[in-house]
């Protein structure tokens, strides 16, 4: 139920809405709960609302920690 998926913002629309691409599938979602979203950003979508922006640097940091753990 709490599943949420990362999607790329492809266009900003009126009324605080945005068009996002989920691996090519386009959807209109609400940006009511996130600030300063730009086209190209990734947001986490849950039931038609963006709940958070994906932090690209943290995402890479997590992967390098995983690689480090796997190597050690």
């Amino acid at each position: 139920m709490c599943l949420a998926v990362p999607a790329r913002v492809t266009a900003l629309l009126p009324d605080g809405m945005a068009k996002v691409s989920l691996d090519g599938v386009l959807k209109e979602v609400s940006l009511a709960f996130v600030d300063e979203v730009a086209v190209g950003d990734y947001v986490v979508i849950h039931v038609g609302y963006a709940l958070a922006k994906v932090d690209a640097r943290e995402a890479e940091e997590t992967l390098s920690l995983l690689r480090e753990a796997a190597r050690a």
Partner: protein, 377 residues
């Protein structure tokens, strides 16, 4: 898919699992509960328990809102849907939840009730605006992840003066349920845990700060984790390290999305539009104080519980159903005598079999095919 596929890399997963095996203390048992149904589903689907050393046992928690919705509330929703003036809109997951006598919203719909599945709360409001002669009730369920969208639609309905729209609110809160499980663990009413894998998307909303009180009160570590298999493995490694060091801190594995303070905008909306209920019934866990939300007074005109005469009857679960003991980690799904016989995903009797995120449904779909003897089931 970016930010998904990278965290499903099988070779990397095996490497992290080997690291975990290398770091567990010999002769020590680690009992970790993943609170969320999303984690339960991923653990079963990706066979994570088979990668972990046998000293680590994952216990499947109550974080599946469909599963913990009590039968009395389902019965009340069905009664609402059966009113000739009402259109009941809700998420797809909710439609199959059994009330008493095996009835569900899906069976009510088959019987002629106007029940509609929506993707978003905004879709429910759109139905109300398009069909002004219908009383459109949105059946809202879910943890803190799903609550802000309900807040947003209540605000919009009030702004637009949409008089034929209301919400039947069943939103529940994560920290009180976590506290209840850990308190039961201390008293012997639940399995004693060594740590918790904390919620992924609930934490995008509430942040990681609310878990600090829990770690301090119960002395158990909480690691917030994403829903992908590598996220879960990394969280288990972090929990093992905390246990080995004798620490009990809140740690965040899911830093690409979760911050300590969470989504402040969503929290402000929730605080304005909802109020805390004194107590609420959880299927499998019973009545938990201050564990759920109701609609606050300024939005009372849009509260279905005030607009309609909704029964507050509590309906008892089937006495043979072991969901309560399974959610507390005292029994495993296969130890319930209804499992796989009377109770299957097609005809669920208990809460844990209802949703694919429930412990019994996950075991039915994936876990029972595991080879015997590889690790504890």
């Amino acid at each position: 898919m970016k930010y998904v596929d990278e965290y499903r890399d099988g070779a990397l997963a095996r490497g992290v699992a080997e690291r975990i095996s290398a770091e567990v203390t010999l002769g020590r048992a680690y009992r970790f509960m993943e609170f969320c149904g999303g984690h339960t589903h991923a653990i079963s689907r990706y066979g994570i328990e088979d990668l972990l050393p046998t000293s680590i046992r994952m216990i499947h928690g109550p974080g599946c809102p469909v599963c913990v919705l009590p039968m009395g509330r389902v019965d009340a929703a069905i009664a609402l849907a059966l009113r000739p003036d009402v259109t009941l809109a809700t998420y797809g997951d909710v439609m199959r939840v059994p009330g008493s006598n095996g009835a569900s919203l899906l069976s009510a719909k088959a019987g002629g009730a106007d029940v509609r599945m929506v993707y978003s709360t905004l879709d429910a409001l759109r139905i109300a605006e398009d069909e002004p002669d219908r009383q459109v009730v949105f059946l809202a369920i879910g943890f803190e992840t799903t609550t802000p969208p309900t807040a947003a639609v209540l605000r919009r309905a009030r702004e637009r003066g949409c008089r034929n729209f209301s919400v039947f609110c069943n939103h529940v809160l994560t920290p009180p349920a976590m506290g209840a499980i850990l308190a039961d663990g201390s008293s012997g009413a639940a399995v004693a845990l060594d740590g918790l894998v904390g919620p992924a998307h609930v934490s995008t909303v509430i942040g990681t700060a609310p878990y600090v009180t829990i770690t301090e009160r119960y002395g158990k570590p909480v690691v917030v984790a994403g829903f992908e298999p590598l996220d879960i493995l990394q969280a288990v490694l972090m929990l093992v390290r905390q246990c080995n060091d004798g620490r009990h801190q809140v740690e965040n594995q899911y830093t690409r999305v979760v911050t300590p303070q969470g989504n402040v905008k969503a929290q402000a909306d929730m605080a304005e539009i909802f109020r805390l209920r004194d107590t609420f019934e959880w299927r499998g866990l019973g009545w938990l104080p201050e564990s759920a939300l109701a609609i606050a007074d300024p939005y009372a005109d849009f509260d279905a519980e005030k607009r309609f005469d909704i029964s507050r009857v509590t309906t008892a679960d089937n006495p043979a159903c072991e969901c309560g003991t399974i959610l507390r980690g005292l029994k495993r799904p296969a130890e319930c005598r209804l499992f796989g016989t009377a109770c299957t995903p097609e005809t669920p009797i208990g809460a844990c079999m209802v949703s694919s995120e429930g412990a019994c449904a996950a075991h039915w779909s994936y876990g029972r095919f595991r080879q015997r003897g590889t690790s504890p089931t």
